[in-house]
Symmetry: C2
Subunit: 426 residues, 2 copies
């Protein structure tokens, strides 16, 4: 097997013809496979379904004098704050336990910034002289970018590195007063699966942005989601920002969506006391209180950090072989042909494949023809536009291993065809 | 017992001295009673706590091929749409089943109107030449008004009548193009507890507002909440608006907050297909999907309309004696003295007491001194300002009957003191 770039025109043509035969054979199978989103598999959901049985009696609903069945307690059940405080290694008083969606809390921060301004703002962002900007490390999470687009915030990209966002660029960009925030997925970043280095975390906490209401959006979505290593602690960003003199700069988010049930989990936001106090006036207008029964159910099921990490080890046993299979297949089929590069994540939900420039869209078009749905090309960039048309997010969690094997076979063939077409078109 | 207005000055003074002795005696008891919010009582919550037991096995979570434990199905589980379609007597396809809070869906409509405009809008409301306005029948629900205030929409009041909002005034006001909506609680209105007459419902459905994006906010919060009568059907507002040629004018809301658990229930919005389609782009930016496990739990527990009405009959058995006690006490203590007027609701959660003009605030101040918390005076009016300082919302549901008796004794004494002070100040 030789790298494609070293093949001559005739060899490329022969290779394309051979791969196309395989592609037609696969198309004939009329597959219907999905590697598009980071959804847990049915086996994972079954594994945690005992959560349906932990809260069954009315007397269990009354905890520390609070009846979780009734209105009240807008910032969450105290036992739930305590639980998440332990998980995120932060002060339970700063934990705001809400509904099922951390994404909607992130949306809320940006939309409040736009409409009313945040605690440190002089005025609402929409009254600024021009569009406010957010720094988006790329590749990144499509739904972060979509929030900006929907609310009229301009996305400014910086490249991800193996240690996190390019901090030299970040530190340069925040000198612009119009830059009001940055998206970060510090552990098992979506989609690269890397963990920010301690240096990156410290540089982020010590940023001195020109805009005093700049927000560090710390989406700790995969805080306990190791599948191929023991728990990796991350320094508490809340403390670091406080020590750096900007306690109100950071909002941390997390949820149990990929610990228990996606959509039926519990989401949290961690923020300074001033930030929480300020935001409560808006949150209190939108809702009376969140589902405290579901909060309580999660505390009863997940218990504490130690037990949660045990649950995550069970998830890991299901996730690990899938990721290994994807990585092994790429190592075998793609690496020797020199068609792409990727990280080797030890947690999270994604593998980020950087294909030969200009081939991502075509690869995924071919996958679709062969019945394999993948995250659309460009989705990992703001406005859906990957300037190099290279990054592809692979989400191996949902299909069982047998389907994943079939899907990866398709994916590798499509990567090869797209690369061959590209090289032949030169 | 004579009406206070017929007493001479000396009689008033003697009466005040006598009532003040009672007031001091009650203050000495150091009560701590709450009639401030429409919260179900512990007995009601216990009565429906079997909902904790209906969904316990993983195989139950897969319904019609959909796994309620995973992401997806942003508009709700089909079985939940069907259930609410039957409850609200409307097309299940137009039912959007979401999280736990109908209030947050109402907020969403108004905030979307402001920031982006609604389906029929030419431009966002915040780009209008001046503040958009909403019609607020008064007395009304404080949280409706608070949404307007938070989002910068001006409240224009019209009086409630025993058949609903004053429709002559409404039909006049909607000629103003700046008027973009109206709040309605058509069944057991908050706080009057009246049901809109058929004529009112038809006139509302047939409104021809100058603003083509005018919204009829149909908060059907008490759709099955009869406690002193059999189920009272209400004509389907969705069909009526469609027949009147304005299918996109209306949004209906409901929830199970006062059927099962407040805060841990399921909320729905009913809207035309065009409206739903339009709104999904915004909703889909904010969240991935709602808690479908909780939706499923509700369908399994409440089953259908017939069974839901049976559950509501059980609530009624707990609610009815409380409302009777309040009404009987007012009939005995307040009516003969001519100090207030009130409706006699047969459902819902409130009794609306219109005290002698200029005495509501003072009455509630006295209640507070005696340890009885009530909804603040003015809360039933936009901006918290009751121009007559007269309306008081009584919420009898939360306390057990024995506490309610004590609270009502306090309330009547406070009403009397406030009236006597007022009459003596003349």
């Amino acid at each position: 097997m030789k790298p494609y770039v070293s093949l001559n025109r005739e060899e490329l043509q022969n290779e394309l013809a051979a791969v196309q035969v395989k592609f037609e054979a696969i198309k004939a199978k009329k597959l219907s496979l999905d590697m598009s989103r980071g959804k847990p598999s049915a086996a994972q959901l079954d594994m945690v379904s005992d959560i349906l049985n932990v809260l069954t009696k009315p007397e269990q609903c009354i905890v520390e004098g609070i009846d979780a069945r009734n209105y009240g307690g807008l910032t969450g059940l105290p036992v739930a704050k305590k639980y998440f405080g332990e998980i995120l290694d932060c002060d339970p008083e700063c934990v705001y336990v809400a509904g099922n969606s951390s994404l909607s809390m992130m949306y809320s921060i940006v939309s409040t910034g736009m409409a009313h301004g945040l605690y440190e703002s002089e005025k609402p962002w929409r009254e600024l002289n021009g569009k406010p900007k957010f720094i988006c490390p790329v590749p990144g999470y499509d739904r972060h970018f979509r929030i900006l687009e929907a609310l009229g915030v301009e996305a400014v990209t910086v490249p991800m590195t193996p240690t996190g966002p390019d901090m030299d660029m970040v530190e340069e960009l925040i000198k612009d007063e119009m830059v009001r925030g940055i998206w970060c997925v510090p552990k098992f970043s979506n989609p690269d699966g890397i963990i920010y280095s301690s240096e990156t975390v410290h540089r982020l906490a010590n940023m001195k942005p020109a805009a005093k209401d700049f927000v560090l959006m710390w989406d700790n979505a995969y805080c306990v989601h190791e599948f191929d290593t023991d728990f990796v602690p991350l320094e508490d960003i809340m403390s670091l920002c406080r020590e750096a003199g900007r306690p109100n700069m950071v909002f941390q988010f997390a949820s149990t969506s990929k610990i228990t049930f996606p959509g039926a989990g519990v989401a949290v936001m961690v923020a300074s006391e001033d930030n929480l106090q300020y935001l409560l006036q808006f949150i209190g207008t939108e809702t009376i209180s969140y589902n405290k029964i579901n909060q309580l159910r999660h505390v009863l099921y997940l218990k504490n950090k130690e037990h949660t990490l045990e649950v995550m080890k069970k998830h890991a046993r299901i996730m690990r072989p899938k990721f290994h299979m994807v990585l092994d297949t790429l190592d075998r089929e793609i690496a020797p042909r020199g068609l792409a590069e990727w990280q080797r994540p030890k947690g999270g939900y994604f593998i980020s494949v950087n294909a030969m420039e200009g081939t991502a869209k075509r690869t995924l078009q071919l996958c679709q023809e062969a019945g394999v749905v993948m995250t659309p090309a460009g989705a990992t960039f703001p406005y859906g536009k990957d300037p190099r048309d290279s990054n592809i997010r692979v989400a191996p969690s949902l299909p069982p291993v047998s389907e994943l094997e079939a899907a990866m076979e398709v994916f590798c063939i499509c990567l090869r065809i797209a690369a061959l077409e590209k090289l032949l078109a030169k």
